[in-house]
């Protein structure tokens, strides 16, 4: 599956300021592995020692938080967008 991964400033600089990175993978986890091959520093910082997404980072497939799907085992379809966004407060 060809999917795109995107994030915002200031994290985008870790992805050479690319607005969207195309990778392939059947699941979010596989997409992260593909991203790691090109941007190891980014993925290592996003995940904790156990390989889980850090608690201060939210990951979405299209518009849905992966914690409401199957986390990193969430299956991907061609053209899906993975968004990586640091959690922000509000109210």
């Amino acid at each position: 599956m060809a999917v795109t991964i995107c994030t915002q400033e200031p994290l985008r600089k870790l992805l050479d300021n690319e607005p969207a990175i195309e990778v392939s993978g059947q699941t979010v986890s596989e997409a992260f592995n593909a991203l790691r091959n090109r941007y190891p520093r980014f993925v290592e910082r996003m995940l904790d020692e156990g390989g889980s997404v850090r608690r201060c980072v939210n990951v979405y497939v299209n518009e849905e938080d992966i914690r409401f799907l199957q986390n990193q085992q969430t299956r991907l379809r061609d053209g899906d967008e993975i968004r990586i966004i640091p959690s922000i407060a509000g109210g």
């Binding site: 870790l14 850090r54 968004r83 922000i88 509000g90």
Partner: protein, 420 residues
């Protein structure tokens, strides 16, 4: 005081402690953790004495050394110093020896505690050269950004879930702000705003300005201490949406202790959530230090954040201070609103009903002992969430302008008092 930084030292990652310049940024580039303002407490201690504070105007800026602006504040200079009310009638109803209400339902200018965070965020945004400000909001923040931006001559964009209470929508539009309704819940609005913030060079108060913005909440805690006669309350009950306010109340107590402005004392900070959006209280009750995100479904829309960014830190504060959390149903929220109104003459919004309802549960269960003293943080005004009460607070009885009809009405009510 340094003209560029005031009493601030740096932005510091709450996860790994790495430091960053005092710019409009909120994320650590090393572990993606949230940034927080670090202060020069030695210089603050020399400047911030009780007598210095007491000589200043009665607003939140009397604690300005501990608020993150470099120079004098320029937006929201009259915000804060809301009443702390001794609530004897409510104390009796809830079964506790002493109870106080910190009443931010009458905060200036938009009747919620959000004026505190917004005055800090917009003052700092002006220092950093921004001319457009923005926010993702469940309503109160939108009102406050719209009003304070108008008075400061800043352009404002506010993003809200499109199903918000009419009162909160009109309360943003009237100031001339650009109000964008998003067809989704707050967590979706927040995610979109994180993306927008990355594209436009705006001061997003709860995104790139968040490290400054969040610090404004501490002023509620500073005021509680001063208004109690320089004492930390034994128990403070705080409504939780993202969990940020609870962590900042705790921080305000710690800072005042560290600066010697108040004696070291044991205290507990408790958290309140609506049952229809209770990721933090559910985790606290289960003894977990992490939460499971939820899709909100509650009348307490100002607390309807299903993925609370400060949830982890709020859980940590409650654990460290021996605090507890609980949650209440929509009916219990309405009962809480009515109880506060009938006992103390204070009309709070749904979030305040949550706080009162949870206080009742924590006192009844003994988690807050009946012989202790507690402060309830009431953060918003009931006039903004009238929709939640329609059909639940009785109805008016109509008569013609005739004394005979009035007497008949009174007579009927005397015979069957339940009809009143």
């Amino acid at each position: 005081m340094d003209k560029q930084t005031g009493f601030m030292k740096a932005l510091k990652c709450r996860e790994c402690g790495r430091e960053y310049p005092l710019a409009a940024t909120h994320v650590c580039e090393f572990d993606f953790g949230p940034l927080e303002v670090a202060y020069d407490y030695d210089r603050i201690k020399a400047s911030m004495t009780r007598s210095a504070i007491q000589s200043r105007s009665k607003n939140m800026w009397r604690y300005r050394e501990l608020l993150p602006v470099a120079g004098e504040p320029t937006v929201g200079c009259e915000v804060g110093f809301t009443p702390l009310i001794k609530a004897d009638r409510l104390a009796k109803r809830l079964g506790i020896r002493e109870l106080w209400i910190k009443n931010d339902a009458v905060n200036y200018p938009t009747l919620s505690f959000k004026d505190r965070v917004v005055s800090v965020a917009l003052s700092r945004a002006k220092e950093l050269g921004f001319t457009t400000v923005a926010c993702a909001s469940t309503g109160n923040l939108a009102n406050s950004v719209a009003a304070n931006a108008a008075s400061a001559g800043l352009k404002a964009y506010v993003f809200i879930p499109s199903d918000l209470e009419l009162g909160k929508v009109l309360n943003s539009l009237v100031y001339g702000a650009n109000v964008v309704g998003i067809k989704g819940h707050y967590d979706e609005v927040n995610r979109l705003c994180a993306e927008i913030a990355g594209k436009y060079n705006w001061a997003f108060v709860n995104v790139n300005m968040r490290p400054y913005y969040a610090e404004g909440s501490k002023s509620m805690g500073f005021e509680i201490i001063e208004q109690l006669g320089w004492k930390i309350p034994q128990h403070t009950i705080v409504p939780m949406a993202s969990g940020s306010l609870l962590t900042k109340i705790h921080k305000s107590y710690q800072e005042m202790t560290k600066l010697g402005l108040v004696s070291d004392a044991e205290y507990s900070v408790h958290g309140a959530q609506p049952a229809g959006c209770s990721p933090i209280s559910v985790a606290q009750k289960a003894g977990l230090d992490f939460f499971k995100p939820v899709k909100p479904n509650t009348i307490a829309k100002s607390l309807a954040i299903g993925t609370p960014a400060d949830g982890f830190y709020a859980l940590k504060v409650m654990k460290e201070t021996g605090g507890a959390a609980d949650d209440v149903t929509d009916d219990e929220i309405r009962d809480g609103i009515k109880l506060l109104a009938e006992c103390e003459g204070i009309f709070t919004e749904t979030a305040g009903g949550v706080t009162v309802g949870v206080a009742k549960k924590l006192i009844a269960s003994g988690k807050i002992p009946a012989n202790d003293s507690a402060v309830l943080c009431i953060t918003g005004n009931g006039l903004k969430t009238l929709d939640a009460l329609v059909g639940h607070v009785g109805h008016t009885r109509e008569i013609r302008p005739s004394l005979r009809e009035f007497e008949a009405l009174i007579e009927a009510e005397t015979k069957s008092p339940t009809a009143a």
